[in-house]
Amino acid sequence: MDSESFHSKVVSFASYIPNEFIPLDDYASINHLPGKLDLHRLTGLEGHRKSKPEEGSLELSVKAAQTCISRGGVELQDIDLVVNCAMGKIAGNLEMHLSPSLASLIARRLGIENATCFDMSNACSGMLTSIMLADSMIKSGDIKYALIVSGENVTSLIDEAKSNNLWLKSQAIASLTVGDGSAAYLIGRSELPGQLMFSEPFTLAQYTNLCIGEAAKKRAGPSMRTKASQLQQGVLDNLGEFLSRAMKHMNLDWQEIEHIYSHPTSPKSMRKGGRVAESVLGKMKNFHNESHDIGNTGSTSHCMLLEKSVQAGDLKSGESTLLISFGSGLAMLAMHMMMPEGIEEWS
């Protein structure tokens, strides 16, 4: 079998956006933060969604996956690959799943019996990295359908950050921008070429120590420390060249792309990135920057924004869509997809 025996496409996607909205003022008002820091003015964020106590990474993943599979209309026995790409794999009780892959548990909960299962770890770029691998496996004929899934139960990072003196631990402040949610994509074979494409993937490892996620000290669950301005500058310094190369690699016309979604570290950082992109490649048709009420949901972030667009009725079958991903490391990767058939009927 040669390396491009088949074409691939996004069959469906879905996000589970928890209902409970926690306003920024409840946990990060000016009075909560050192130096009268105004996190809303700094980030454009208004709050985040919080999962229920019983909803850990596994349960969140299963919810998004069930909707995704239902939308895609694919039989469970036809799914050959399940990849989990959540960063923390945190349960509702703040235990963190380590081994074997959480994907194995997700597959079992869904009733998928014969799939290869593994966990991908590439920070916020884990979702697109996983889809890129699945795309290659489908094009080579190794598999027919892949389910890529992530449940980010990460808002305990906010409590962890607030348990510190933020005057002394300013690198914990970025943890206040996260939110919970989950996402799933079903990738499968396509009759048509060009339905799913990727930029060259890059890791600029000189930035690798700027965001560290690990176990919290003296409390259950995870912690995150971020040199946010240095990391953002690393992205902005390379963004123009990255996008130019991505357009060339995928043979795309920037002006013809209907929808653009970038990884939303915060609405304000998205606007900065948007200005860099437009200065290099020209005006964007629809730049989706609607993360003000969901926050940064890690690997699920693009799909959370896509789901909001679905709910708003903004998307149509066959529309050209670009997802731009940045992850700690620093990983840079873009994915171009045609909107799945029947998306207008999704609810």
Binding site: P100, L105, A123, A205, I212, E214, P222, E241
Partner: protein, 234 residues
């Protein structure tokens, strides 16, 4: 199908995992016929990292420690792509399968695979003697050739899943208590089967030590959760 051009392994001992993996990688590259810049992809397979780190990928730390293409982007600059993949002790094979596809995506070079685990903290119970194992792989050439790998979830016992849990007495996150499946009493004589309590690096080290060129070699890994992978090599 991927081919192992060269491999090296060593006990982690008292050094940290990153130092162990970086030193092994440097030695392997120095002894091989390739240049450092011929490596386009790094994939790490492992479960346990210092203080249960999950972000960024361990492979990005390896890339940084090797100084591999850590430059700003220009119209013609070459860059590596690095990430981690895991599935308990079956990790070597999901990594090798991913490498096959990444070598197509970032064609014309080699993939550095690193396998290894380290005790997350002194408070965690640690019944393992892990080895670091690094491999340089490509899509063709001479060396052990992975023909296929097949995974089996049938024996997967959820009570044997391993979690990080909080120990109130020690005020530390530690590796939680978990069941371990029993080793099967009978496996085919033609299979090389490791111990259930080996971690990824040791599984590959032991298999490659006894690998016999010119014949079909079958490697079976049974994870302590009961998940199994059977791989065929030539």
């Amino acid at each position: 199908m991927v081919v192992i051009h060269g491999w090296k392994s060593a006990p982690i001992g008292r050094s940290r995992l990153l130092k162990s993996i970086t030193n092994l990688s440097k030695k392997l590259i120095a002894e091989s016929s390739i240049n450092l810049n011929d490596i386009n992809v790094i994939i790490h397979g492992g479960v346990y990292r210092k203080n249960f780190r999950v972000e960024p990928a361990f492979a990005t730390h390896v890339q940084d420690a090797l100084g591999l293409k850590c430059t700003s982007m220009t119209p013609n600059s070459n860059h590596c792509f690095s990430f981690d993949i895991s599935d308990g002790s079956c990790s070597p094979y999901v990594v090798l399968d991913a490498a096959k596809h990444m070598l197509r995506i970032k064609s014309g070079g080699f993939c550095l695979i690193t396998l290894g685990d380290e005790r997350p903290n002194p408070q965690s119970t640690w019944p393992y003697t892990p080895l670091s194992c690094v491999m340089i792989v490509s899509l063709d050439g001479d060396g052990p050739r992975l023909v296929n790998s097949n995974y089996d979830l049938q024996g997967f016992d959820e009570s044997a899943c391993v979690n990080m849990t909080y120990d109130d007495k020690r005020a530390k996150n530690v590796i939680g208590k978990h069941a371990v499946v029993k080793s099967p009493t009978k496996t085919p004589d033609s299979h090389f089967v490791g111990e259930v309590n080996w971690l990824s690096g040791r599984h590959m080290h032991e298999f490659l030590l006894q690998y016999s060129p010119g014949t079909t070699n079958t490697h079976q890994i049974i994870d302590q959760s009961g998940k199994t992978v059977i791989a065929t090599w030539e």
